[in-house]
């Protein structure tokens, strides 16, 4: 059957939704659906019902070996995906959470190269996470050395700036929601550059920020994201540097030096 009319499709659509049509019929319905809104809508409803049919499937326990096999395969694949650091030739695997220690403005400005490196890549999404009073100046830093327009990137949803929140829960929720949206928009890789407002108004207290950094270690496992947090050693308290930086980040960076297995890192 090459051409089918609407009446014939009425007869065939249930079989189509159940993937029970034989090949020629299936191809005919495919062609018909491309030009028929009414049947597309009907199919959507029937598919909802077939999707729910899956709930009736008898559960069956797979062998424990399957768990190891599948998780290993996915981890191996995830490990091969990485992003360039931008200011050096080093790369960070997706799922990384690194802190970069810097002691002057030039060092801090240099970290912008991490975001800039992804701006031209269609599958990548960038996030600046900072106190909103810094958005304008950070945007200007990012703009330096970038041929396109940073405001334009924000407007078309290729780059986002996420502001502070009063609790670590809200900070994580804000980041999670933006990551979800970037994924829904079809981005495959996300770079997040963080400028955390330690001891600033509108941010959680120091203890909560340490907790927040630990939560980020869970977030990076769930998304194709690499997170770089900036730590200003001239301004931050020793305790913040030690607990928030060294003990909470699996990877530490100073200039071009990168320590991939930070020995001070304590997994939560």
């Amino acid at each position: 059957m090459n051409q089918v009319d609407c009446n014939q499709v009425d007869e065939l659509l249930a079989g189509y939704a159940l993937t029970a049509l034989d090949q020629p019929d299936e191809a005919s319905v495919d062609r018909h659906l491309a030009g028929c809104d009414r049947h597309q809508r009907t199919l959507e409803e029937l598919t909802r019902a077939t999707d729910h049919l899956m709930l009736a499937v008898p559960e069956r326990e797979p062998r424990p070996e399957l768990r190891t096999r599948i998780l290993d395969a996915i981890r191996a694949e995830a490990a091969t995906a990485s992003v360039s650091l931008g200011w050096s030739k080093e790369r960070l695997a997706l799922g990384s959470h690194a802190c970069v220690f810097h002691s002057d403005e030039a060092g801090l400005k240099g970290t912008m190269a991490f975001l800039r490196a992804g701006l031209e890549l269609p599958e990548e999404f960038g996030i600046v996470f900072a106190d909103q009073t810094r958005f304008a100046s950070l945007g200007a830093w990012l703009q330096e050395g970038y041929a396109g327009s940073v405001p334009n990137l924000i407007e078309r949803g290729k780059l986002a700036m996420i502001p502070e929140a009063a609790t670590s829960e809200d900070l994580i929720a804000g980041i999670g929601a933006r990551l979800d949206r970037a994924m829904a928009d079809g981005y495959k890789v996300i770079r997040l550059l963080g400028f955390i407002g330690w001891d600033q108004p509108g941010w959680p207290d120091t203890a909560s920020i340490v907790e927040f950094e630990q939560r980020v270690n869970q977030v990076v496992r769930a998304y194709p994201v690499a997170v770089v947090c900036t730590y200003d050693v001239t301004k931050l308290a020793g305790l913040s540097l030690m607990e928030g930086g060294l003990r909470s980040h699996p990877i530490t960076i100073m200039g071009n030096r990168i320590v991939r297995e930070n020995p001070f890192y304590l997994a939560a």
Partner: protein, 168 residues
């Protein structure tokens, strides 16, 4: 997306159950479940949570892969058609262990006339085409088409009553 390990642990029973139900072979079912989790991982950026839960999304991949194997690899000889596709292999068939949604779906399926239920079971959980079902149940093809159509419309209207919106 939920953490990968949690996702696996939460969905392995239904994913493997569905693959095994269709393929009736441990090795093939394991392969399909692995392919589905990998495919889910690779295309997680396309996953749209507004179009249904993560579970439904993953199980759809499992089912499509299993059907591909059945149809294209001719993994299962056609004469192995099995009529009984109920809960006999369910490790948690005690209704107390099924959530309200799953229990409801089973009851909805049970409420169909037997011929419609059998046709839908064979198509959906057996992976058979309507002409295969017709041959093996020794019914005219038109009759099987009607059973699938009426059965699915009934399920769709029950679905609508529970979850909203309906087939026109």
């Amino acid at each position: 997306m939920t953490d990968l390990e949690d996702l696996y642990d939460a969905q392995k029973g239904m994913a493997y159950g569905l693959a095994f139900q269709l393929l009736r072979d441990q090795g093939a079912a394991e392969d399909v479940v692995q392919e589905a989790f990998l495919a889910a991982w690779r295309s997680r950026a396309q996953y749209d949570r507004s179009k249904g839960g993560l579970r439904g999304w993953l199980l759809t991949i499992v089912r499509n892969r299993a059907i591909d194997r059945l149809r294209h690899d001719r993994l299962r000889p056609e004469d192995s058609l099995e009529l009984e596709t109920g809960g006999q292999t369910d490790v948690r068939s005690d209704p107390a262990h099924l959530g309200p949604e799953r229990l409801w779906m089973r009851q909805a399926l049970e409420s169909l006339p037997e011929a419609q239920r059998t046709a839908i079971n064979l198509a959906y959980f057996g992976g058979f085409t309507q002409s295969q079902i017709a041959r093996h149940t020794r019914q005219p093809l038109g009759t099987v088409k009607g059973q699938l159509r009426l059965g699915l419309l009934k399920l769709s209207s029950l679905d609508h009553a529970r979850f909203g919106t309906m087939a026109r």
